[in-house]
């Protein structure tokens, strides 16, 4: 039976595909984007997050040695943590959260079905995101298969940096792909995300050939990929594809900083301002133009 580590499940997700959706975040990602907004989903191992409402009561330390309260500080030895979750149940303040509980597709279904009335009335469904869901292609396939028997719309949000056969595994069941495009220049891509982009672009072309609808998602990171040249080459590349249904520009925000802290990761992203609304409008217009005639009516969302 396929299993996966789940970072979190978000209900009422309204921007991860059409309608009202539930998004399941899988743990583990092949990239290391320096601006990563989901640091809790990057590593494959379970991770304990400590939220700032901890009252230092020490109950968690009583059940596990990974926790220590010292001189008014809550210290966590994350290297010894096995992800058992006992400390989370012990905490009475909801100050601990375990990213990376293991689920089977069957185990996830009841929770995913609770909102089915909402999916039905909004044209929504389930989106698998991450991290990179297609690092666990069998799990995605098995879950989608179950969802499809219930008639539920299935979408995958992928960074694309995975072997093509992972796509093939889920293709029969996925209704929609949300595909990240971060940087057209491969060297820069490697510099910002830790990997070149050839495979990502190659997979995107393949995916386009299958005829599945694709929504492109482009994080706009000031100073890294928001110059006109970058947008132009992304737009031209997309213009050569046939099944793009929308492009969404996702403006960078520093919202993830507290998450880095809570799970004890170093945050290497330099401080930058979020792109302004005018800037986004401008980039969107440029994107629309570069994508050419075929995509005159393709929405560029922001």
């Amino acid at each position: 039976m396929s299993v996966a580590r789940i970072v979190d499940i978000k209900h009422f997700a309204v921007h991860d595909g059409p309608g009202i959706r539930t998004t399941v975040f899988l743990k583990g990602c092949p990239l290391r984007c320096i601006w990563c907004h989901n640091p809790e989903s990057v590593r494959t191992v379970p991770e304990i997050a400590l939220l700032n409402r901890c009252t230092l009561c020490g109950r968690c330390a009583e059940v596990c040695r990974c926790h220590r309260i010292e001189k008014g500080k809550h210290l966590i030895d994350r290297t010894s943590c096995t992800g058992c979750g006992r400390c989370v149940s012990a905490c009475l303040c909801n100050a601990l959260f375990l990213y990376g509980k293991t689920f089977t597709p069957e185990g996830l279904m009841p929770e995913l079905l609770t909102d089915r009335l909402f999916y039905g009335h909004s044209g929504g469904g389930i989106t698998l995101s991450g991290g990179e869901p297609l690092l666990a292609p069998e799990f995605c396939r098995d879950l989608f298969r179950l969802l499809k028997t219930e008639g539920i719309h299935c979408a995958v949000d992928t960074c694309g940096n995975i072997p093509w056969n992972a796509f093939e595994t889920v293709l029969p069941f996925a209704d929609l792909f949300l595909y990240d495009l971060k940087q057209m220049d491969s060297d820069l891509h490697r510099q910002y995300t830790g990997a070149p982009n050839e495979r990502i672009l190659e997979n995107l072309k393949h995916l386009d050939d299958t005829g599945k609808p694709i929504e492109i998602r482009m994080p706009i990171i000031p100073g890294l990929n928001d110059d006109p040249g970058e947008i132009a080459s992304a737009g031209r590349f997309l213009g050569g594809l046939k099944h793009i249904i929308a492009v969404r520009l996702l403006p960078y925000h520093s919202f993830a900083r507290s998450k880095y802290q809570s799970i004890g990761h170093a945050d290497t992203m330099p401080a930058v301002e979020s792109p302004s609304k005018e800037k986004l409008d401008h980039l969107a217009a440029q994107m629309q133009k570069e994508m050419g005639k075929t995509y005159r009516n393709c929405p560029v969302l922001r």
């Binding site: 921007h15 009202i20 609770t114 009335h121 044209g123 520093s254 919202f255």
Partner: protein, 719 residues
């Protein structure tokens, strides 16, 4: 003449506060009061309904009036406090004569935050159809005509009172017309002249008459709590004007702006309620060009008063629902959405004829009633569903005051005993509230006959009976039940802490409550953060809520009142979540003494931790067709959760989903920067507030202060 609204809007909004009546137009309030006192004396011994009509006539024919040439409508009347005073006197007199049975329901119950029984004169709507079809003279003549076949003296008196009062209304309108001519108010003089002697024909005449009727009924002493179904009542007049070239669409919009601003300027704290949409016989959708126009005007006005009720059925076109969703998105949230299908089922269960149901409105806030055929007294009683929990821990006594408002009982020893004890206290108290309520109903005719309001009701005219004497076809009495979330949480917490997890004994829990949880912090955290809660789609808490509401609905909905109808359960709280909560001690759900109850059908503040879909899933598990006195859910959204082109679709999907799941009414809140700042200060109350972060929504309170500041800045920038 046209396009003046925006320019004079500030003046219109202050039109009552700034008004200095011209002394030449009539008597001062003091003179009026003297005259009324004499009138009252000379009518002593006569049936109250005639005295009331006489005083009413006196005011309408003698009080100072005013007409503003810049306005499209006239209604200024300096009525003073006369009617109020007599109503107060009659009430006091009536209450003195009440027997002492179940007296605690109107004395100890309010003091202990249990609820109350009362005479509810304030939740009414006239038959707007009769008003607009007949006008004051037609209404007068209808009564006089009926009088010819009157059989009893009582009926004859009733008809006389109705005729006197509508003739007084006609005289009032004529006085306004004369004043309009005197001050050269061309915008209104013709209209006033016309409706003084015939039913309205034009849009302006219909609006003017409806405004004046409202003024008169408020004067009579029964607040008008629904202005009827706007897009049905006024459609013939609107079409007439457009067809005959009397008005353009834009001019009609301008008229409506002047009209609605009247209600804003009057400043009724609860807002005047206009209904829209819904089905009509034999089951087709009624939305029309006036529905659209109304919503458009409302959006342009960007106001909070009036408030609009939109009846939504499966047949309501998506585009019009989307139009309203766009208003919500823009933060114009003064809408309540009513579910046509659940309402029909609910009315049907209460024995209402299928034909009648098409005319339902929401009276007050969200209390369903049939326009023109029902007097629903939607707050004849109120009840705190959390109170029995407090009582079952304290042998039936209210711990704060020591008052014995419940039944003596030992501490429950297991889950069965727990629920049995809860229901015993609840049944005892609700029965007393209803018994007391019946006594109030009996004295109603002596306290406040209502010839004007009754005179609009076809059934009252047919029977020759006032509404206070059950003249209408349906006569129901509502009991507002508040705090369902808190009650379910409290029972679920006892179950969890004592019987399931053995974390404490009943006695220990009682001690914790008596000490307002001081010294029991750990236990309180267990109760707050680990026990099951209402509003997170938790099966056990939801089942408790369902059992509570089923039991209560069964009890209330099958208790006859004295007016030929039954009591009706309502599941809402309005702002009484605070008043009732302030007099309720600490409860097992971790709630501190004096804290508010859960509001309406929602969760206890801050306990809806799993988002709005989970909240709605919980609420949809209740059978809302069993709450004939209404039920409503509040949804709180951050602007970013419904931003962009898809935003309105998300809102309409939420409405359609909730209605498919059987909900009766839903309303939305879009939070402003101010609200967000409050959420920063009191995060525990806003745990469910969602904000959009990159590609998903996150809970606002989980963000760092800096990030929250960013959102606040965004909200301030109106993004």
């Amino acid at each position: 003449m046209w396009n003046t609204f925006d320019r004079i809007r500030p003046h219109l909004e202050e039109q009552y506060r700034n008004w200095e009546p011209n002394p030449e137009t009539g008597l001062s309030p003091e003179e009026l009061e003297k005259l009324a006192d004499r009138c009252f004396e000379s009518h002593r011994g006569e049936p109250l309904i005639l005295t009331k009509a006489a005083i009413f006539e006196l005011i309408l024919t003698k009080a100072r009036i005013g007409v503003d040439p810049a306005d499209w409508f006239a209604d200024h009347l300096q009525s003073g406090n006369v009617m109020n005073k007599y109503q107060g006197l009659r009430k006091a007199e009536g209450y003195r004569k009440l027997p002492s049975d179940c007296e605690d329901a109107s004395s100890l119950y309010p003091e202990t935050g249990t609820g109350y029984a009362a005479l509810d004169l304030s939740h009414t709507s006239p038959d707007w159809k009769s008003v607009l079809e007949l006008g004051p003279t037609g209404l007068r003549d209808r009564a006089l005509h009926a009088q010819k076949s009157a059989e009893t003296e009582e009926q004859r008196i009733f008809y006389t009172a109705v005729a006197v009062i509508f003739d007084a209304m006609r005289k009032f309108i004529e006085r306004l017309a004369e004043e309009a001519e005197r001050v050269g108010a061309e915008r209104v003089s013709g209209t006033l002249r016309a409706i003084a002697h015939r039913p309205p024909e034009t849009f302006q005449e219909a609006l003017q008459l409806s405004l004046l009727y409202d003024t008169c009924q408020e004067l009579e002493g029964e607040p008008v709590r629904s202005q009827g179904l706007f897009d049905r009542l006024f459609l013939p007049f609107y079409r007439h004007d457009l067809q005959n070239g009397i008005l353009t669409r834009d001019q009609a919009k301008e008229l409506l702006k002047f009209f609605w601003t009247k209600f804003y300027a009057q400043g009724h704290p609860n807002g005047k309620n206009f209904g829209f949409g819904g089905l009509e016989f034999p089951g087709n959708d009624t939305t029309n060009e006036l529905t659209e126009l109304g919503f458009e005007v409302y959006r342009e006005l960007n106001t909070i008063n009036p408030k609009l009720t939109f009846r939504v059925s499966k047949k309501t076109p998506d585009f019009i629902l989307r139009r309203v969703a766009e208003c919500i998105q823009a933060g114009i949230t003064g809408f309540v959405f009513a579910n046509e299908e659940t309402a029909r089922e609910m009315f049907r269960k209460r024995g209402k004829e299928p034909r009648d149901i098409y005319d339902f409105i929401f009276v007050g806030c969200y209390e369903p009633a049939i326009m023109g055929r029902e007097i629903s007294c939607t707050m004849a009683g109120t009840y705190n569903l959390l109170k029995p929990v407090e009582l079952l821990f304290h042998n039936g006594n209210d711990p704060r005051t020591g008052a014995a408002v419940g039944l003596p009982c030992p501490l429950p020893r297991n889950s069965q005993e727990l629920e049995a004890a809860y229901f015993r206290q609840l049944t005892h108290q609700l029965t007393r509230i209803m018994e007391r309520g019946k006594l109030y109903e009996k004295i109603w005719p002596e306290v406040n006959p209502s010839p004007l309001l009754s005179g609009t009701m076809p059934e009252c005219i047919r029977k020759g009976r006032d509404i206070s004497d059950s003249g209408t076809k349906y006569n129901t009495s509502g009991i507002m039940c508040a705090g369902i979330g808190s009650a379910a949480d409290a029972l679920a917490a006892v179950e969890y802490l004592v019987f399931e997890r053995n974390l404490c004994s009943m006695t220990e829990l009682k001690n914790a409550l008596d000490n307002n949880w001081n010294g029991y912090e750990t236990l309180r955290l267990e109760a707050l953060n680990h026990a099951p809660k209402w509003g997170i789609s938790d099966p056990s808490a939801d089942a408790i809520a369902r059992r509570i509401t089923e039991h209560t609905a069964n009890l209330i909905n099958h208790t006859p009142n004295t007016r030929g109808g039954t009591f009706q359960m309502g599941l809402w709280s309005i702002d009484q979540d605070r008043t009732l909560g302030s007099k309720t001690g600490a409860t097992p759900d971790g709630r501190l003494s004096g804290a508010p109850l859960s509001r309406n059908t929602g969760s206890t503040t801050g306990m809806d931790r799993r988002g709005i879909t989970a909240l709605m899933n919980s609420v949809m598990k209740l059978d809302h067709s069993e709450f004939p006195d209404g039920s409503v859910l509040d949804i709180m959204l951050h602007p970013s959760a419904v931003s962009g082109k898809e935003g309105p679709d998300i809102i309409t999907s939420l409405i359609r989903t909730f209605f498919a799941g059987g909900g009766l009414a839903i309303q939305f809140n879009i939070l402003s920067a101010e609200d967000l700042k409050q959420a920063q200060k009191e995060p525990e109350k806003y745990s469910n507030l969602q904000v959009r972060v990159c590609g998903w929504n996150n809970r606002f309170i989980l963000l760092s202060p800096e990030e929250q500041a960013l959102f606040i800045a965004k909200a301030e920038a109106g993004e």
